[in-house]
């Protein structure tokens, strides 16, 4: 237990940072209890009703998240479960954004019911997916993070479509701990007390549950009821924090991790220590944010900082997922039919896309209905429409091919640029290019995104190689990289100048700005990727059989991986410039291609390219028409098609 004493320096540091901020504000001239605003100076008021509740809420919210994470980890027997990785916080966030935009009346009754219902909806979805796989930890986290990513993508797009009126929401997304009075502290403390009581009552059943479902049932435990109760407690705790201070990522993951390092065994002690560690972590993070603000740096939300800690932490924790996936759980469906004439099928697909493109060129929406363009307006519109159609199709094709390559490389049907962190890395590269280069041209931006994508994938791949990890863990590493990228993006966004709005606009993707040169460049990328795929077709055929077989056949597996990583990075980087980081086209297209019976490596890739192009063409059309005369972001529209499909896929594949 002496190891617990190592928490003391953290406590000391957090306290010191807070005192420094307090001192900077009001010197030693502290207000006396009870606080009466009439009798105080302005600085004293800011201290008593701003900084003090802020310090308190950091402790309380951190404890709640730590406790919530610990409960989830115990009940799901999953060392990487927490309100962030299971999508609960993003669900709450989306519900709040929707509530604010669609039905502001609801919010009058308080933010809490809205946040809890959003969190519950997300949790329900993730649990429904997990239940089909016996709550296999990896599946749960992948499902949770996909649901979370989708929810926050939609929330971002809604924020964007409301213009800057909702810029406060962006700040809120990052989780700001700024307080105006003590009401938030009081409310959260009440919830924490209730949650702690419930957790105390659940300790013993949870300890029995830690034997596993069969063992617990054998001892007469109502497993389903205990699971439901425990998850509900965790969910209310996390949703309350979301409602009060916004999205604070990964504290629920870090708290229990710290508690374990400190030697917490057994569910009871783990919960207590996790709450303590969570409280200290959030206080420390907030203290750092305060100190940086005090030093004159940009003020950014505390949640962004915890995200920066959480991504690497998740990666470090992955090897602890012992025996997480029962063999055969995450493998591809087999028994697909094979297309009898793949070439004819591919030709048909290509023809369909050309036809659709041609139709989209001449059909348009006018106020009150649809119309075919006459010759004159066709000539006017062609220079505007043709590049965007070609650009969207080429981006979809590049994403589709990258997805097919990644699925073959990792032998995992759920791999895709979005999931493996390639898109997140590309987004970071774009953002860095925007911020570091004075007036970035298209070439600089393209270079930034491609490099970002390749770096992200290299990190994931090298990590996976070094730790000798099974393919499904690679997905988790990729998701962790995505989470890290989005945390950095949230921090960048919160800076809130014109450049951040540029990045935000780009994040949800629009095809409106495609120039003829840009479209041609994307086509060149597609051609390049196709050529490289053709020359590596044999590798793509053998690598899905695993490293053992591939090395046995004399493939230089290291070089092959590196080459394919580079190809995917280029493809994703090129496409991401146009459609933003989230579209799920890279996941859907290879899957559909496979379902159509395109089995051979080249057929699979070509099919994925054609289907990806078609999907993006459809998404572009939808994005232009759905909100006519305004245009919705292309990436948003694509992910609105993709996310439900993906979730359905995960639900179904449990045979």
């Amino acid at each position: 237990m002496t190891r617990i004493l190592t928490l003391l320096p953290a406590l000391f540091a957090a306290g010191l940072l807070w005192l420094l901020a307090a001192h900077a504000l009001a010197g030693w001239n502290w207000p006396t209890l009870p606080f009466k605003a009439e009798a105080m100076t302005l600085d004293q008021i800011r201290l008593a009703f701003g900084l003090m509740p802020r310090g308190a809420i950091a402790l309380v919210a951190g404890a709640m998240l730590g406790l919530s994470g610990a409960i989830l980890q115990v009940v799901l027997r999953n060392p990487v479960a927490d309100p962030t990785t299971l999508g609960i916080q993003s669900g709450a966030q989306l519900a709040l954004v929707l509530g604010t935009v669609v039905a502001p009346g609801i919010m009058e009754h308080g933010r809490w019911p809205v946040a809890v219902s959003g969190a519950a909806a997300a949790a329900l979805l993730v649990m429904a997916i997990g239940a089909r796989r016996a709550f296999a930890p990896v599946t749960m986290v992948i499902a949770g993070m996909l649901v979370g990513m989708t929810a926050s993508a939609i929330a971002t797009a809604i924020t964007l479509s409301q213009g800057e009126y909702l810029l406060s929401l962006v700040i809120w997304n990052g989780g700001s701990l700024v307080q105006q009075d003590w009401s938030g502290v009081r409310a959260l403390t009440a919830v924490l007390a209730g949650g702690a009581l419930a957790a105390g009552l659940l300790v013993r059943p949870l300890r029995v549950l830690s034997l596993g479902v069969e063992g617990a049932r054998g001892l007469g435990l109502n497993v389903a009821a205990i699971r439901l109760l425990a998850v509900t407690v965790a969910l209310v705790l996390a949703a309350a924090v979301s409602a009060e201070v916004g999205l604070i990522a990964f504290v629920g993951l870090a708290g229990p991790a710290v508690a374990r390092v400190l030697g917490a065994t057994g569910s009871g002690r783990l919960m207590v220590l996790s709450a303590v560690a969570g409280a200290l972590l959030l206080s420390l993070s907030d203290g750092l944010v305060l100190a940086m603000a005090g030093l004159g740096a940009e003020s950014f939300p505390t949640g962004a900082l915890t995200g920066l800690i959480g991504g690497p932490l998740l990666i470090a924790l992955l090897p602890r997922l012992r025996g997480a996936t029962p063999p055969g759980e995450e493998r591809a469906e087999s028994g697909y039919r094979r297309a009898r004439r793949p070439t004819a099928l591919l030709a048909g697909l290509a023809f369909a896309i050309l036809l659709a493109g041609a139709v989209l060129l001449v059909v348009g929406r006018v106020p009150g209905g649809w119309a075919l363009l006459d010759r004159e307006s066709f000539a006017t519109f062609l220079p505007m429409r043709l590049p965007r159609l070609i650009g969207a199709t080429a981006a979809g094709a590049a994403l589709g091919m990258a997805g097919a390559i990644l699925q073959r490389l990792t032998a995992n049907p759920l791999a895709s640029p979005e999931v493996l962190g390639v898109s997140g890395g590309a987004a970071l590269g774009y953002a860095l290019a925007v911020f570091l280069v004075a007036a970035p041209g298209m070439g600089t931006l393209a270079g930034g995104t491609m490099t970002g994508g390749m770096v992200a994938l290299t990190v994931v791949a090298s990590f996976a190689r070094r730790r000798r990890m099974p393919p499904e863990r690679i997905l988790l590493a990729g998701i962790a990289v995505s989470a890290l990228a989005s945390a950095v993006l949230a921090a960048i966004m919160a800076v809130g100048d014109a450049r951040s709005f540029l990045v935000l606009a780009w994040l949800s993707g629009s095809a409106a700005a495609v120039t003829p040169a840009g479209a041609a460049g994307l086509c060149a990328v597609v051609a390049l990727v196709l050529a490289m795929a053709f020359s590596t077709r044999r590798w793509l055929g053998i690598l899905p059989l695993g490293d053992g077989v591939a090395a046995g056949l004399g493939i230089p597996t290291g070089q092959a991986r590196l080459a394919l990583v580079a190809v995917s990075g280029i493809a994703v980087g090129g496409a991401t410039i146009l459609v933003g980081p989230l579209s799920f086209v890279g996941l859907m297209a290879p899957h559909m291609s496979r379902r159509m019976g395109l089995v051979s490596p080249l057929g699979h890739l070509a099919g994925a390219a054609l289907i990806g192009g078609g999907l993006m063409l459809a998404a572009d059309f939808g994005a232009r028409m759905a909100g006519f005369p305004y245009e919705l972001p292309l990436g948003l529209f694509a992910s609105l098609i993709g996310a439900p499909w993906l979730i359905g896929l995960m639900m179904r594949r449990a045979r």
């Binding site: 028994g335 094979r338 044999r538 490293d547 053992g548 004399g554």
Partner: protein, 256 residues
């Protein structure tokens, strides 16, 4: 003439020594069984020979040349390896799987020529899977699938086969079928094989030479007859064993 010669071969993973200074010659042209208790290092040794694991110390030579000095492609032409669990071959037919064995010959870009086609046909015939050539690998029974993978190794044209527990997931009739096939492949075509086996009786019945490991060290190597003695089996498995003789004179070991 030895196939592999090992000199103080050591393999470590963080915190544990899997193979501890093995010095030994693996004979050529024979069926060699690698046996031992769980965790004895037999699979580690096989995977080291297949260059799937790098040794932490010592030397291994194949045909008198250091393992590291072989190019990946030459090594694959010389030696074929089958992992313990064969991965799912999603949507692949038996013929396509077997054709992958030609990779070390045509490479990433080379043409799949007539010679390659003939090698695939011969391999399909030799392993008795020609009739299954157009079936999907994942729809085959365990024994058929194992034979399809053996056919891939044959197509690879390698003289040496390394098999990691090829029969551990098979029922007894399929196990006998696969072991008979491997034995035939070796003896008729002058190939060598090193096979990790769990079952002592299978090892004694089908193999020509036995190498037994215990905790990363060699306990015995030699003739199967030498293995089938109660004292030797006790040393290898740490368990009293009884050896009985069947009417035809072959020994059978059971736990005493």
């Amino acid at each position: 003439m030895s196939l592999f010669s090992l000199d103080r071969l050591t393999v470590d993973v963080p915190g544990r020594r899997l193979l501890d200074g093995l010095t030994l010659d693996v004979p050529k042209g024979r069926l060699v069984a690698l046996i031992g208790h769980n965790g004895s290092g037999k699979s580690t040794l096989l995977r080291t020979l297949a260059r799937q694991i790098a040794p932490s110390g010592g030397h291994v030579q194949l045909d008198g040349q250091e393992l590291g000095a072989w190019s990946a492609r030459d090594y694959a032409r010389r030696l074929a390896f089958m992992p313990q669990t064969t991965p799912p071959a999603d949507g692949m037919t038996v013929r396509e799987l077997v054709a992958l064995g030609r990779y070390p010959w045509h490479g990433a870009l080379g043409r799949f020529g007539a010679q390659d086609g003939q090698a695939v046909d011969r391999a399909l015939a030799e392993c008795g899977v020609a009739a299954l050539a157009d079936r999907l690998v994942d729809t085959l029974s365990g024994g058929e699938r194992q034979r399809a993978w053996l056919a891939m190794m044959v197509a690879q044209g390698a003289e040496t086969l390394l098999l990691d527990e090829p029969i551990s997931a098979l029922d007894i009739s399929h196990a006998v079928e696969v072991m008979s096939l491997v034995r035939k492949m070796c003896h008729r075509q002058d190939r060598s094989a090193v096979i990790v086996l769990h079952d002592v009786n299978m090892a004694a019945r089908y193999c020509d030479h036995v190498i037994a490991l215990r905790r990363g060290r060699i306990v015995m190597q030699g003739d199967p007859a030498e293995l089938m003695r109660p004292d030797m089996l006790q040393r290898i498995y740490g368990l009293p064993m009884q050896v009985m003789t069947r009417p035809d004179g072959t020994p059978v070991a059971v736990p005493a």
